[in-house]
């Protein structure tokens, strides 16, 4: 194993000076980290960052930090994608510029980052920011555990980022199949980085699932029955159940792989009684529910957006709820379709193939519900709605390719070709990513008090959707032509034109990413012209629009009483919106604490130590985590009181702002349908 060395197996050779590309990647990462530190120092913002943000237990701030992590990792994951597309465009009968070992790291980190450190934090961020407000709650059920989830996820992301600088990343793909990922065939730190990043962040996600579920079940405002919940919250309810019950499978699979690699056990080895297929079984037991964990919140966003921007009530509420529940349950019955080709009998394959075709039905129901919401609505084509319409068209195409793949005989031909790559990107980009980008643009004013620039949002949308088609439609063709996935170079000339087109598509997507960046820059620069003064910039329907933008720390000074579906809309219609209470009460809020980020940091240190065999550091970090938890669990004084007069001051300022606000922020929009609106009280 390791010698008793203070640095474990970490040596000077672990630094990436063996390759220019690797060194550049490391350089960019280090520079990135240093510039963040530099900017904060330059702005004199350390107090703010440490005491108001890093130590915060406020779900809204935690949500914003999650989304920031996601957006940073989106860029990082996209760089991986651009590298792959450009390599494949030129690598006909040629080495290209990426040697195989490096190319393998690139596709492995691309998938790992996009799923675990872009999509998962993005959804956790949106849920954290919005869901408690939608149910009329002041916070999630367990604010401290919420912070721990954030910081453990960040620990995992930092492990992946640091693998660029110290050591290498895994070459075993984002799924890490043994025996290749075992220590016999891939010794070294790469797979260990992957295992620990995934394991640590997975624990954070399981905790988030518990947190979200308890919040929805137990923290709703009076009158907010389950069947008055907004659709976004319903999708989170089912997503949370999936998180709680699916992540244990990933925990078990990665733990066993870890034991094989670190302690020389034989769960998945090629001999000595190992059973490699068990890894694949366990991994996909998690992996299939995981893709529904990713997509359901996006479906939730689309439900909210389509109703608000069609200026019409969401069609088929009950069918949407039942479809969501059906998807949740069925998602646990299809997992073998990820390994149809790996030796199962016809009976097993046909059972799972049948279940896979069945699971497309509830999603189809949802698509019809969304279309019927739009039908006879008065559509407003703001960016969130553009992403929604783009999703509806493009996701259905991807869904069709999925139904094809659900049939084992077809899958035998298409498995592990670029057809599969095109299929799942056809689900994830228009489905998951468009949903989260729509949510980001939809709820940005709620988070920061000003709207995002719509011109650049529209440009971002067009770049993303055109870029998506140009990048991925060729991959369907290539799959049919027989091109396998993950190819570092190839010898078939007829593939190259398609790959060049695909690379051009990646370029267009890059323009989309730039548009997103410019949008953010311009919006911050011009924020005074785009202030959201009422808290309800889109004439929304659910309770998060009842709070100010940004919301007060306690969200609602007085918890709302919910009378029906579309609670906020009903309040506006019946004239009880923006009511000023006669008196305010004290509100109890959780105190900030550094124990959360300390546990995250210790989690990172533990992972790093286990990877590099620095045993003293591993023990020390475990001790720090244990102490942190015990200290926290012995602290009966973890809340502070916001006095009624402090609350009143905040609320008075809000009502003063409302007095300056237009009656209805949407009233000037050419698409506004002119629904009678509640006048904000002065």
């Amino acid at each position: 194993m390791g010698s008793v060395d203070i640095f474990g197996r970490l040596t000077i050779d672990s630094l990436p000076f063996y390759s220019l590309i690797a060194a550049s990647g490391a350089g960019v990462t280090v520079l990135g980290g240093l510039s963040v530190v530099g900017v904060i120092t330059y702005l004199g913002a350390w107090r703010l960052v440490l005491f108001e943000w890093l130590s915060s237990l406020d779900h809204k701030k935690i949500g914003i930090m999650y989304v920031m992590l996601a957006l940073v990792m989106l860029v990082r994951g996209f760089v991986d994608a651009a590298m792959m597309r450009s390599q494949q465009a030129i690598a006909l009968n040629s080495e290209g510029y990426l040697p195989p070992g490096h190319f393998d790291q690139v596709f492995s980190s691309h998938g790992t980052i996009m799923i675990f450190f872009m999509a998962m934090p993005f959804l956790s961020g949106l849920v954290n920011l919005i869901m408690p407000q939608q149910i009329g709650s002041r916070d999630v059920a367990f604010p401290f555990m919420n912070a721990v989830s954030l910081w453990l996820t960040t620990a995992g992301a930092v492990l992946v980022l640091i693998s660029l600088v110290i050591g290498k990343f895994s070459t075993a793909g984002w799924s890490g199949y043994p025996p290749y990922s075992g220590v016999e065939f891939t010794p070294g730190v790469g797979v260990d980085y992957w295992v620990w990043a995934v394991f640590i962040s997975g624990i954070g996600t399981t905790m988030s699932g518990i947190n979200f579920l308890v919040t929805i079940v137990k923290c709703r405002a009076p009158g907010m029955t389950m069947f008055r919940l907004p659709l976004f919250t319903w999708t989170i309810f089912v997503t949370a159940i999936l998180m709680i019950f699916a992540f244990p499978a990933l925990t078990v699979a990665t733990a066993m792989l870890m034991l094989d690699r670190t302690l020389d056990m034989h769960f998945f080895t090629n001999g000595m009684g190992g059973n490699m297929m068990n890894y694949i079984n366990l991994f996909w037991l998690w992996g299939h529910p995981e893709v529904y964990i990713l997509i359901l919140p996006a479906f939730g966003v689309f439900s909210e957006v389509v109703a608000v921007f069609s200026q019409k009530r969401l069609f088929g509420y009950l069918s949407l709820v039942l479809a969501t529940m059906a998807i949740g349950l069925l998602s646990f019955t299809v997992w073998l379709h990820h390994f149809f080709t790996m030796g199962s009998s016809a009976r097993v394959n046909s059972f799972f193939g049948t279940m896979t075709t069945i699971i497309s039905v509830p999603t189809g129901v949802k698509v019809f519900d969304w279309l019927l919401t739009m039908y006879r609505g008065r559509i407003i084509f703001k960016p969130p709605m553009l992403f929604t319409i783009g999703f509806l068209v493009t996701f259905c195409i991807g869904g069709l390719s999925g139904v094809l793949l659900a049939l084992p005989p077809i899958d035998y031909m298409m498995h592990n070709t670029t057809f599969l790559i095109a299929h799942f990107h056809n689900m994830i980009i228009p489905g998951v990513l468009f949903g989260y980008l729509a949510g980001y643009m939809f709820w940005f004013p709620k988070a920061f008090g000003f709207k995002l620039n719509e011109k650049w949002g529209t440009r971002a949308f067009w770049c993303w959707i055109i870029g998506f088609y140009v990048a991925f439609m060729p991959l369907y063709l290539l799959g049919l032509l027989g091109m396998p996935r993950r190819m570092e170079h190839y010898e078939i000339a007829s593939w190259q034109p398609h790959l060049i087109v695909a690379a051009f598509g990646a370029f267009i997507i890059m323009l989309g990413m730039i548009c997103l960046g410019v949008q953010l820059w311009v919006s911050i620069r011009d924020r005074e012209q785009a202030l959201d003064l009422t808290g309800d910039p889109w004439n929304g329907r659910s309770l998060e629009w009842a709070t100010s933008s940004p919301a007060a720390p306690y969200n609602f000074a007085v918890l709302p009483k919910v009378e029906g579906l579309d609670a906020w809309w009903t309040m506006k219609q019946t004239g009880v919106a923006y009511q000023r209470p006669e008196k305010y009460e004290d509100i109890v809020m959780p105190k900030n604490t550094f124990v959360g980020p300390v546990i995250g940091g210790a989690g990172f240190a533990f992972g790093f130590a286990m990877i590099w065999w620095i045993w003293w550091l591993a023990l020390l970090s475990l001790a720090v985590i244990a102490c942190g938890l015990i200290v926290r669990a012995s602290n009966d004084n973890d809340e502070c009181v916001m006095t009624a007069s402090e609350v009143k001051a905040i609320e008075d300022a809000r009502f003063a702002q409302l007095a300056k606000a237009p009656k209805n922020e949407m009233a000037d929009d050419p698409g506004f349908a002119g629904e009678p609106m509640q006048e904000p009280a002065t």
Partner: protein, 199 residues
């Protein structure tokens, strides 16, 4: 010291304790899935002895019985501590917590002895897939019990220094859920691992 029945807390605080209990219950459900998958793996790999020791070679009925007795008894003694807590009897809580700790520690000592003995005879987790899955399944349970023992110590300290307050009582009851849950897992362990292995 007040009994739980006599405690008064704000409705908000009471809601918080209910939320924590439900949240902890959900954690136990996720833990149940982890153990279920470890059991499934064990069943899949129990025959993968790679020419090495088989279950019959390494399991001992007497030792399994002793471990079972200790753990089962400790669940009961914890229950007695819980009854004492509800009645507000602090010294009894400390006494029965201590007894529970000793019984649990005894279980761990026996289990470490079992593992050490197996390893000394060459039945190491590195010997075969069967042994890897055995050590991981039973070892994960043992790790949980060990964490439970640490929790019992922390609880002992809190009862000693803070008394039987509402937050302490709430944590105590969650520890009870954890401890009884581990006993249930042990029932499955001896029914799936030790007894069939010795048949």
């Amino acid at each position: 010291m007040s009994s739980i029945a006599a405690m008064t807390v704000s409705p908000r605080e009471a809601e918080r304790y209910e939320e924590k209990e439900f949240g902890f219950w959900l954690y136990l459900m996720s833990d149940a899935v982890i153990f279920a998958l470890l059991f499934a793996t064990y069943l899949i790999m129990v025959g993968n002895t790679a020419g090495g020791p088989t279950p019959k070679d390494v399991f001992s009925l007497e030792r399994a019985a002793a471990e079972t007795a200790l753990l089962l008894l400790s669940s009961t003694t914890f229950g007695i501590a819980a009854v004492s807590l509800s009645a507000g009897e602090r010294m009894k809580v400390l006494l029965w917590l201590a007894i529970t700790f000793l019984l649990g520690a005894g279980f761990i000592v026996l289990e470490i002895g079992e593992f050490a003995g197996m390893i000394a005879e060459g039945a190491r987790p590195q010997r075969s897939g069967f042994l890897s899955s055995f050590f991981t399944l039973v070892g994960t349970h043992g790790l949980h019990v060990s964490v439970g023992l640490i929790w019992i110590l922390v609880m002992f300290g809190q009862v000693l220094f803070k008394g039987l307050t509402a937050p302490v009582a709430s944590r105590f009851m969650r520890l009870g859920l954890f401890w009884h849950f581990l006993d249930i897992i042990w029932v499955v362990i001896f029914s799936v691992v030790y007894l069939p292995g010795l048949l």
